[in-house]
C-alpha cells in the first residue's frame, strides 16, 4: 500500500500526464456520462437506483440468513463452501485446495478480491503458475503491474504500449492494431486455459434462494476458467449476495449498464456446484470462498454499513474528477477511486489511509452515478471527521492537534464580531506586503503556506460588508 508521501508524489506525476488523462477520458465518455441515461431504460418512472439500493439494503441487513441459504444450496449440489474470516485464511484455503489436487497451473478470471487478499503472490511463492485471463489483467500481469481500474485494468496503456509488450513477452511481431493484439492474447491464453488444473474467479453477485454464484463477463475467459479446469474456486466478499432471482433482475441490469454501458454482458453465468454425474464436462470440484476480511466490522457500524451495498461496477471512478486526473495506481490499493477511498481506510486503518479519504473532493459526482445510490461523499466526510476528532471504536487517533486547535481558535473568532474585525484589519495590513500577480495571493506566509501550495488565495476586500453597511446604510455608495 502507498504511504501518504507516495500518494502525493505519484498523484503529482499523474496529474501532469496528459496521455493518462485522455485514456481515462474514454471511460468517462463511453461509460460514466451515459450511466444515468442508461438507468432510465431499466425503469423510466421510478429511479431504479433506489430499487437496487433497497435490494442491497435488504440483503446486507439479513446477511446471516442469506449466506446460510446460499451455502446450504451449494453444499446440497456437492459444492464446498468455506467462510474465511481473514485474507490469510482465504489464501491458505485456496492453497490447500491447489495442493490437494497437485495443481501446477491456475487460470484466473478477473477478481478484485483476489488482489485484496494477495492470492497471486501466494500461488507464485508456492510454485504454482498463475495466469490472468482477462485481457486487461493479462496485459497488466505481463507488465508486472497491478490493475488501475476496477473494470478496465489496463486502461492506462496505449495500443502502442500493448503492442510493444506483446512483441517483447510473446515474441509476436509488433502491431498496434487492437483486433490483432486481441487475437495474439486469444491464442496465448487458450492453451493455458485448456491445460490448467484449477480455475479461480471472482463473483459479481450470488443468488441465495437457488444457490448460484453469478458472474458476468464479455470475453468468455471466466466461462473457460470455470468450465475447463478440474477445480473451480470462486472468491466472493460476504456482502456480494442477492436473495432471489427477482433481485437479480434489477441488480444485473444496473450492474452491466454502470460498469460498461451495456444492456447485458455477453455472458451471465450462474455457477452452483460441480459437474453432475451425467454431465460430460464442467469442474469435478467446486469451492466457494466467502471472505470477511474486515467486512463484518463495517457491518457493525450503521454509519458505514452502506458501503457494503457496493456492487463493484467501477462507475464512480469514471466520473471522479480526482481519479480521472491521478489514475488508479496513485491510490496504491486494489480498490481505487471514490469507493476505494471509503472502503480501504475502513479495512486497512483510517490513520494509515488518511490520504485516500482526504484526497477526494466531496463533489458528489460518485453518488449521482452510483447504481445503488451509495452516499460516498457522506462517508468520506465522516472519515475526515473521525480523523479530526479521533474515534476509539475504529482505533482512529486525532490526526493533528495543531489543526484541531487552529480550527477551535477560528471558530472562537468567527463567533465574536470584534475579534473578527481585528483579524481582518490585521490581515489587510499583512496582505499589502504579499505579491499578488493577477490580483490573487500566490503564497501565504508561515503556517498558512500549506493552504496555497495547490491553490491561490483571494485577497481580503478593502471593506467588509458590515463596515460598508455601517457607512452607507444600503444607499448607493
Amino acid at each position: 500500500m502507498n504511504s501518504p508521501e507516495d500518494y502525493r508524489s505519484s498523484a503529482g506525476k499523474a496529474a501532469a500526464d496528459t496521455r493518462l488523462h485522455s485514456a481515462l477520458a474514454k471511460m468517462r465518455d463511453k461509460v460514466g456520462r451515459n450511466a444515468l441515461n442508461l438507468y432510465t431504460q431499466v425503469d423510466a418512472q421510478a429511479d431504479p437506483r433506489l430499487k437496487a439500493k433497497d435490494v442491497r439494503r435488504k440483503v446486507v441487513n439479513n446477511l446471516d440468513v442469506v449466506l446460510t441459504s446460499l451455502a446450504a444450496k451449494i453444499t446440497g449440489r456437492g459444492g464446498h463452501v468455506h467462510f474465511a474470516p481473514t485474507d490469510l485464511d482465504a489464501v491458505e484455503y485456496c492453497l490447500g485446495v491447489a495442493r490437494r489436487h497437485g495443481v501446477r497451473r491456475v487460470v484466473k478470471g478477473k477478481s478484485m478480491l483476489s488482489e485484496e487478499i494477495g492470492l497471486n503472490a501466494a500461488f507464485e511463492a508456492a510454485g504454482i503458475e498463475t495466469v490472468e485471463t482477462d485481457l486487461g489483467e493479462y496485459i497488466v500481469q505481463l507488465k508486472g503491474e497491478t490493475p488501475s481500474h476496477i473494470i478496465a485494468p489496463a486502461i492506462h496503456y496505449s495500443r502502442e504500449q500493448v503492442g510493444e509488450l506483446f512483441a517483447e513477452k510473446l515474441g509476436e511481431p509488433y502491431t498496434s492494431d487492437p483486433p490483432t493484439l486481441t487475437a495474439m492474447a486469444r491464442k496465448a491464453l487458450r492453451e493455458k486455459m485448456l491445460t490448467a488444473e484449477m480455475g479461480v474467479s471472482g463473483g459479481n453477485t450470488a443468488c441465495a434462494e437457488t444457490g448460484h454464484v453469478t458472474i458476468v463477463s464479455n470475453e468468455g475467459n471466466i466461462r473457460m476458467s470455470s468450465t475447463m479446469p478440474r477445480v473451480h474456486v470462486v472468491l466472493l466478499g460476504i456482502e456480494k449476495v442477492a436473495a432471489t432471482l427477482e433481485d437479480h433482475d434489477v441488480l444485473l441490469r444496473m450492474l452491466t449498464r454502470a460498469a460498461a454501458g451495456q444492456k447485458i454482458s455477453t455472458y451471465v453465468s450462474y455457477v452452483g456446484g460441480p459437474r453432475l454425474e451425467d454431465e460430460p464436462d464442467g469442474p469435478e470440484e467446486f469451492h466457494l470462498v466467502l471472505v470477511d476480511n474486515g467486512r463484518t466490522r463495517i457491518l457493525g457500524d450503521p454509519d458505514f454499513r452502506e458501503v457494503l451495498h457496493c456492487i463493484r461496477c467501477g462507475c464512480c471512478l469514471n466520473v471522479c474528477p480526482v481519479y480521472l486526473k491521478i489514475g488508479g495506481h496513485s491510490y496504491g490499493t486494489p480498490y481505487c477511486g471514490p469507493i476505494g477511498a471509503v472502503f480501504t481506510p475502513l479495512t486497512r486503518g483510517v490513520n494509515e489511509c488518511h490520504h485516500l479519504c482526504q484526497g477526494e473532493t466531496l463533489c458528489g459526482a460518485c453518488k449521482q452515478v452510483c447504481p445503488v445510490d451509495n452516499d460516498l461523499p457522506r462517508m468520506l466526510s465522516l472519515l475526515r471527521a473521525k480523523l479530526a476528532d479521533g474515534d476509539p471504536r475504529w482505533n482512529v487517533r486525532p490526526q493533528s492537534r495543531g489543526t484541531k486547535a487552529a480550527f477551535a481558535a477560528w471558530a472562537w473568532i468567527m463567533s465574536r464580531r470584534p475579534a473578527l474585525d481585528l483579524l481582518l484589519r490585521l490581515g489587510r495590513a499583512v496582505q499589502r506586503l504579499l505579491p499578488k500577480p493577477s490580483g490573487w495571493i500566490r503564497r501565504l506566509p508561515g503556517p498558512l503556506s500549506g493552504w496555497t501550495r495547490g491553490r491561490d488565495f483571494p485577497p481580503l476586500a478593502k471593506e467588509s460588508f458590515t463596515e460598508r453597511w455601517a457607512r452607507t446604510r444600503g444607499r448607493k455608495a
Binding site: R186, M228, I264, G282
Partner: protein
C-alpha cells in the same frame, strides 16, 4: 456455525433485534407483486415484433440471425455455413452438437456425409468416467463449430439461456470458434425479467450451471476499443425455427 456468520449476527445485533430467523427469511426471500404470476408464452401475434427486436439487437452484437421456414431449410443453411468456414485451430473440420431433438431434426450428419466435415453429438450417459470425459474434452477442443439450442431466447437483448444437463456440454457453446444456436420461436420471451421468472417457476429443478449468452465473445480492454472474438466464440449464429 462458522465464525463469520457469528460475527455477522453480532454486527447486526441479532438476536437482540427481536425478529426470528424464519421471519427474517420470509422478508428477505419474499417475492414482489406480479412476480409469481405465470409468465406464459408470448402470443403468436407478437412474435414478428419480437423477432424484429432480436434482429435489431443482434446487429449491434455481431450476432447473425437466420430465420428459417422449416427444419429442412435450417439444416441446409447450417450445412452450407459449416462448409464455408475454415477451422481457426488445426486443420480438421468437426462439428459438435448437443444431443437434442431440435438439432437431430436438422439431419446435419446426413447433409455433411460426403464432405471432410465430421459431425459428433454429445454422448448421453448416466455417468462419465475420467477417460470418457477426457475423450469428450478432446472432441470439443478439436471442433471448429458447436451447435446448441437454447431453453429461452430473450427478445429485449437477443440473449440465449442455456441450461446445463445431460447431453449438453457446457463447453460446446464456448470452446469452438463458431457457436450456432438453433431455437424454435416458441421459446422467445420478452425480457430478462421474464426469463428469470420462468427459471423461478421451475423451483428447485435448476441445474448446477446456467448461462445467458448475448452475442459472440468480445473485449474492450485495449483503449476501450471494441473487438469481437476474445476467449469464447468469435462468430455466432442464431437460427430461428418455426
Amino acid at each position: 456455525m462458522s465464525t463469520v456468520i457469528e460475527r455477522i449476527r453480532k454486527a447486526l445485533h441479532i438476536p437482540q433485534g427481536g425478529l426470528s430467523e424464519d421471519t427474517r427469511a420470509n422478508v428477505v426471500f419474499a417475492k414482489g407483486a406480479g412476480w409469481a404470476a405465470p409468465a406464459g408464452d408470448v402470443p403468436a401475434g407478437d412474435l414478428p415484433g419480437l423477432i424484429a427486436q432480436i434482429r435489431t439487437e443482434a446487429g449491434h452484437l455481431n450476432l447473425q440471425v437466420h430465420e428459417c421456414a422449416s427444419a429442412e431449410q435450417c439444416g441446409a443453411e447450417l450445412a452450407a455455413l459449416a462448409e464455408g468456414r475454415r477451422p481457426e485451430w488445426g486443420t480438421a473440420r468437426q462439428v459438435m452438437c448437443w444431443s437434442d431433438p431440435v438439432i437431430q431434426g436438422l439431419g446435419l450428419e446426413a447433409r455433411l456425409a460426403g464432405t471432410d466435415i465430421s459431425v459428433r453429438t454429445v454422448p448421453e450417459r448416466e455417468r462419465f468416467d475420467e477417460t470418457e470425459r477426457a475423450e469428450f474434452r478432446r472432441q470439443v477442443v478439436d471442433s471448429y463449430m458447436g451447435v446448441t439450442t437454447a431453453d429461452l431466447l430473450v427478445a429485449d437483448t437477443a440473449t440465449l439461456l442455456l441450461l446445463g444437463g445431460r447431453g449438453r456440454g457446457r463447453s460446446v457453446s464456448l470452446v469452438p470458434s463458431i457457436h450456432v444456436a438453433v431455437v424454435p420461436v416458441g421459446r422467445i420471451v420478452r425480457t430478462f425479467r421474464d426469463a428469470l421468472r420462468r427459471l423461478d417457476a421451475r423451483g428447485l429443478g435448476l441445474p448446477s450451471n446456467m448461462t445467458f449468452i448475448t452475442g459472440p465473445s468480445k473485449t474492450a480492454d485495449i483503449e476501450a476499443t471494441l473487438v469481437h472474438g476474445a476467449h469464447g466464440p468469435r462468430e455466432m449464429h442464431l437460427f430461428l425455427l418455426p
